[in-house]
């Protein structure tokens, strides 16, 4: 109820903003083309036919300063892969509680990762896309409230964000489409920086419920067969979940280095512990920034669940459980080699070659992406 109200309020306030209110309109866009270099291979939504739509997007953000420290911001985004149907990516009210304390309420970006806030704004970073081995949680936005506090601690700049809210909607978890509900999300992201060096730590927790017809059918059969304990070990029903992320960045003497490592756990469910990290190094030569990065994703399936099955279980059922559990095993790494070219004050051209190795199937897939990111 709350989130609907907040969203409606945000939009209503935006529309009702008096004519004299300070209205700021900004936007960003990415036009990207990509294709895999191997026959019939697919990667990140691309296949071996050149595609201009998959990662292209347009967004417009309107911020209305209502005065008295209150403002309202809405961001409308159309993604190519969703046929450019525009949706409210964010819509929130901001209240400046003091010079360095801001309260936001409405639909907000979940602060999982270093680049979560602006991962759609390609212009803000050098890569063609944020590293997929880490940036793969599909709960980008939550409805709730957040407190944002900035200060200086000695010579360090500190920014701390506290967030509380919930997620309710469709999501993709390790390739499986689910209906997801995450309640009582609480989290903190703290970043310290000084002289081009920064460190960021993020911790979030929530109660996760996921449903999918196949998983639900499996747990139904298990329960009906008197294997309720196995069903409960598989199902994702208000399970305590945690996210931990650490990021380090360095931007000095035209060198740009970034590293980020994350771990996601959903207790008492078939969702594997998800581990990912990447390291990236680039160097600016005026308007040219070549970079290289390596990323790895390492999720071990929870085979303990399979061991819970008693002797003599029908082979078909044992196979079903094994397959359900093992589909959450992910072992892959990737190298990215790319170039950013700032050819215009508001636009950057990017070219990136990605080579992913899947350790489970022992497949290699290469992807080339070209594109332009702009802000306006």
């Amino acid at each position: 109820m709350f989130k609907r109200t907040a969203l409606t309020l945000a939009i209503a306030a935006l529309l009702a903003a008096p004519a004299h209110a300070d209205l700021t309109i900004n936007g960003f866009a990415s036009i990207k083309a990509g294709m895999t270099l191997d026959n019939d291979a697919t990667l990140y939504g691309y296949d071996d036919d050149l595609d201009f739509k998959n990662e292209s997007l347009f967004a417009v953000q309107v911020m209305s300063d209502l005065g008295e420290k209150l403002s309202v911001t809405a961001q409308l985004m159309g993604r190519g892969r969703e046929d450019f149907n525009a949706e409210f990516e964010w819509a929130f009210l901001s209240y400046q509680l003091s010079d360095n304390l801001q309260l936001n309420a409405g639909r907000l970006r979940t602060p999982f990762y270093k680049y979560s806030d602006f991962k759609d704004v390609g212009y803000a970073y050098d890569w063609a896309r944020v590293p997929e081995a880490v940036y793969n949680l599909d709960f980008d936005n939550i409805e709730g409230v957040s407190l944002y506090h900035t200060t200086t601690l000695g010579s360090l700049d500190s920014s701390l964000q506290l967030i509380a809210g919930s997620f309710d909607g469709d999501a993709v978890v390790t390739g499986l489409t689910v209906q997801a509900k995450i309640d009582q999300v609480l989290g903190a992201a703290w970043e310290l920086s000084r002289d081009g060096i920064s460190a960021r730590l993020a911790y979030l927790r929530g109660d996760t419920s996921l449903s999918n017809p196949d998983i639900d059918a499996l747990t139904g059969i298990l329960t009906a067969s008197g294997l309720g304990a196995v069903a409960r070990a598989i199902d994702v029903n208000e399970e305590s979940s945690t996210f931990l992320g650490l990021a380090l960045t360095l931007d000095k003497n035209d060198w740009v280095a970034v590293a980020e490592i994350t771990r996601t756990e959903v207790d008492d469910s078939l969702i594997a512990e998800q581990n990912g990290y990447y390291v990236s190094l680039g160097h600016r030569f005026d308007s040219l920034t070549p970079y290289v990065s390596y990323e790895k994703r390492d999720n071990d399936a929870k085979r303990d669940i399979i061991a819970l099955l008693p002797q003599g279980v029908p082979a078909q059922l044992a196979l079903g459980v094994t397959q359900a559990v093992e589909r959450f095993e992910v072992k892959r790494d990737a190298w990215n080699l790319g170039l950013r070219y700032d050819f215009h004050p508001s636009a950057a051209f990017k070219a990136q070659l990605t080579r992913v190795n899947n350790d489970i199937t022992d497949d290699d897939t290469s992807l080339v992406t070209l594109g332009v990111d702009l802000v306006f």
Partner: protein, 137 residues
């Protein structure tokens, strides 16, 4: 001899001018000292007050003004593209808005005269009694 002196003086002036191309300026009533660190924080949106705690309103020059490029590279140590990327991170997350941009030195001086919280920068050549210089770069 006289000629040498004149030449030396002229050279000194030219060198001086090359070294102090931009002046950071505030309203003459503003008694705060402003360090390079303070300027960084103010113009990157990390702080919005002077040393005495009073509100500070940073004013930028429009892109394309010579002093703007000087300020970006000498004081903020960033290229125009880097600054645009920096601000796009804040703007599109609702965490900040860049300083207001003014067309030229005259507009900055007029804004400073009208607002005691304002802080801006202009070419050293444009400095007059309507503003107070707190730093030069």
């Amino acid at each position: 001899m006289q000629l040498v002196k004149v030449m030396l003086l002229t050279a000194a002036c030219l060198v001086g001018a090359a070294q102090a191309e931009i002046a950071v300026v505030v309203n003459p009533a503003n008694a705060n000292a402003v360090s390079a660190d303070d300027l960084n924080r103010l113009f990157l949106g990390r702080s919005s007050s002077f040393a005495d705690g009073s509100k500070a309103t940073p004013l930028n020059l429009a892109e394309g003004q010579a002093a703007r490029a000087e300020f970006d590279s000498k004081v903020l140590n960033r290229s125009a593209a880097q600054l645009k990327a920096y601000w796009s991170k804040l703007v599109f997350t609702g965490k900040g808005t860049p300083p207001k941009e003014l067309a030229d030195d005259a507009a900055v001086k007029a804004a400073l005269a009208a607002d005691s919280s304002a802080i801006g920068y202009i070419s050293s050549g444009s400095v007059d009694s309507s503003v107070k210089v707190v730093a030069t770069f």
